[in-house]
Amino acid sequence: MFGIVIRRLLSAIPVVLIVATVVFLLLRMAPGDPARVIAGDMASEEAVAEIRRDMGLDRSLPAQYLLSMTALVKGDLGHSIISKDPVTKMIGQRLGPTLSLATAALLLTVFIAVPLGVLSAWWHKRAIDRVIMASAVLAFSIPAFVVGYLLILVFSVQLNWLPVQGYAPLADGLGRYLYHLVLPAITLSLIFVALITRITRASMLDTLGEDFIRTARAKGVPERYVLGRHALRNAAVPIVTIIGVAITTLISGVVVTETIFNIPGVGRLIVDAVLARDYPVVQGTILFFSFIYVFVNLAIDLIYVWLDPRIRY
C-alpha cells in the first residue's frame, strides 16, 4: 500500500505541471490586455506600461512561463497587487469556511444521495423510483443561487429559524457554527445529491443484475445485507469516481454559495479579486483549486484500492 501511495504521488507531479501550464496559457491567450484592464479605462499609457512591467507582462512569453513555474515549484502563487500579501497566505486565511462548507455539503450528499439511490434501484420502475428520479432531474436543474434565495426566504425571512447570511467559526461554539452552516450546506449539496442519487441508482441496477447477487439471495442472505454488503460495495467504484469528477462542480458551487451567504471563504476571495482586478490572486486561486481537484482524484485512486482489492496500479 505504501508503495502505491508513493507511486501515485509521483505520478501527480506531471499532472500538476500540465495543469499549471494550461492555466498559464489560457490566461495569457485570453483576449484583452490584463494590464489595461487592471489600470482601468481612464489610465494613461505610462500607467499601463508600469503595471505591465510590475507584473512581468513586458517579458517574452517563455520568460514569463519559466518565471511563474520556478515560483510555483517553490510553493509561491504570487502576490496580491492590492494588499501585497502572498496569495498562499490569503488562501490560508480563508480556507476554514470553505473547507467547512465543502465537507458539510459532501457529508449531506453521501448520507442523502446514496440511500436514495439504493432505494430507487431497489424499487426500480415503481412509483418511489419515478418520484426520486423526477426530483433528481428537477434538483439538478435549479441553479444554486435560486435554491439559496428560496431557502433564505422560507427559513430565514418567513420562519425566522436560521440566519439570513454570514458565517461563524468553530471557535464560536459548535452550535453557532452549525446554525450558520445549515442553509449554505443544503444549497451547495442539492445539485450533488441529484447527481450522486442518479449515479448510485444506475450503478446499483448494474450490480443487482449480477450472478453473485442472485446467489446471495438464493442462499438466504437477508436483503439488507444483499443491498448493503454485496451490491453497494461493488457499486461504489463508479459512485466514488463521479464524486471525484464532480469536485469541479463542488468548487464552482462553493464560489456561488459563498457569495449568496456572504461567507468569507476562498470562493469569495476569487470573486472579490476579480472585481478588484487583482489578477495574481485570481490566477493563484484558480491554480489552488485545480491542485485540489488533482489531489482529491489522487486520493480517490487510493480509495479504489481499498474498495476493490482487484484494482492495482
Binding site: A30, G32, T248, S252, F289
Partner: protein, 287 residues
C-alpha cells in the same frame, strides 16, 4: 423533400409524440424559446426604460412580473435575459461541439498525437470551468467573444473525450479496416465511416452543453461579472435584486424560475434524447 426524408421526419414526430417526457420537455422548451425570441413583440415595455415612481412594485396588470429597483419592467427584462441565454447557449454548444469533435477525431484516429492531446484535455478538465470562465471574462472584458470562448473551453475536453472513445471503438470495425485496406484516403475514412457514429452521442452531449452554458452565463451575471448592466441577463437581474430581496423577492424569484425552467427543459430533453439515441450511455444511467 424526398419521400424517404419525409417518412423519417414522420417517424421522429411519432416517436416524440409517444414519449411523454420528451413531449413535455419539447413543449416547455419551445414555449420558452418562443417567448424569449418574441420578447420585442410580447413585452409591452422597453427592458431598459426607467420609471422611478414605479420602482419595486409587485405584479400588476401593466407590469406582469412587477418592477425592479429602478422601476424597469421585470417581464421584459426576464424575456430579454432568456433571449441572451438561449443565443449564448447555441453559440457555445456549436463552437464546443465543433472544436471538441475535431480534437476527438484527431486524438482517436492518430495514435501518435493521442497522448499529448489527451493530457492537455485532462489539464483543462482539472480546472474548475466556472473559475476559468471568471478569470477569462475578467481579463478579456464581458463581450460576446470572450464570453463564448470562456464558457466553451471547459466543455471542449468532455466532447473530445466522448468523440475519441467512439472513434477508438469504431476504427477497429471490419468496415473501417476494409475501407482503409482498399486505400481510401484518411479524410474520407474519417468523414464517411467514423464521423456518422459520433453524431448521436454528440447531439445528446450538445443539449447538456446548452444547459451548462445557460447556467454558467447566469452565474457569471449573478457574480457581477457578466455583460454590462444595460444588457439584461437572467443572472444579473437576480444580482441586482439581491439588496432588495426581503422587500421585493420577486426580482430574484421570477428570473430564477425562468432560468430553472429553461435548464430543466433542456436537461429533460437531453435525457429523453439520450434514452432514444445513445444506447451505450443510456445503459449506464437507466435500467
Amino acid at each position: 423533400m424526398t419521400p424517404a426524408r419525409s417518412s423519417r421526419v414522420g417517424t421522429a414526430v411519432s416517436a416524440v409524440a409517444r414519449d411523454p417526457v420528451m413531449l413535455t420537455a419539447l413543449i416547455l422548451l419551445l414555449l420558452l424559446i418562443v417567448v424569449s425570441v418574441g420578447a420585442p413583440w410580447l413585452a409591452a415595455h422597453d427592458p431598459a426604460s426607467l420609471t422611478p415612481r414605479m420602482r419595486l412594485k409587485p405584479s400588476t396588470a401593466e407590469y406582469w412580473l412587477g418592477t425592479d429597483s429602478l422601476g424597469r419592467d421585470l417581464f421584459a427584462r426576464v424575456l430579454y435575459g432568456g433571449r441572451l441565454s438561449i443565443t449564448l447557449a447555441l453559440l457555445v454548444s456549436a463552437i464546443s461541439v465543433l472544436l471538441g469533435m475535431a480534437i476527438g477525431l484527431v486524438a482517436g484516429y492518430f495514435r501518435r498525437l493521442d497522448a499529448v492531446i489527451m493530457r492537455l484535455m485532462d489539464g483543462i478538465m482539472a480546472i474548475p470551468g466556472l473559475l476559468l470562465a471568471i478569470a477569462m471574462v475578467a481579463l478579456g472584458g464581458a463581450n460576446i467573444v470572450t464570453m463564448v470562448t470562456a464558457i466553451s473551453i471547459p466543455e471542449i475536453p468532455r466532447i473530445a473525450r466522448l468523440v475519441r472513445s467512439v472513434v477508438l471503438s469504431v476504427r477497429e470495425e471490419p468496415y473501417v479496416e476494409a475501407s482503409v485496406g482498399m486505400g481510401t484516403p484518411t479524410w474520407k475514412v474519417i468523414v464517411r465511416h467514423i464521423l456518422p457514429s459520433t453524431i448521436n452521442p454528440l447531439v445528446v452531449q450538445a443539449t447538456f452543453v446548452c444547459a451548462a452554458a445557460i447556467l454558467t452565463e447566469a452565474v457569471l451575471g449573478f457574480l457581477g461579472l457578466g455583460f454590462p448592466p444595460e444588457i439584461p441577463s437572467l443572472g444579473s437581474i437576480i444580482a441586482e435584486g439581491r439588496p432588495f430581496f426581503q422587500r421585493a423577492p420577486w426580482i430574484v424569484l421570477y428570473p430564477g424560475l425562468f432560468l430553472a425552467l429553461l435548464i430543466l427543459a433542456v436537461n429533460m430533453f437531453g435525457d429523453a434524447l439520450r434514452d432514444r439515441l445513445d444506447v451505450r450511455q443510456s445503459r449506464k444511467t437507466k435500467g
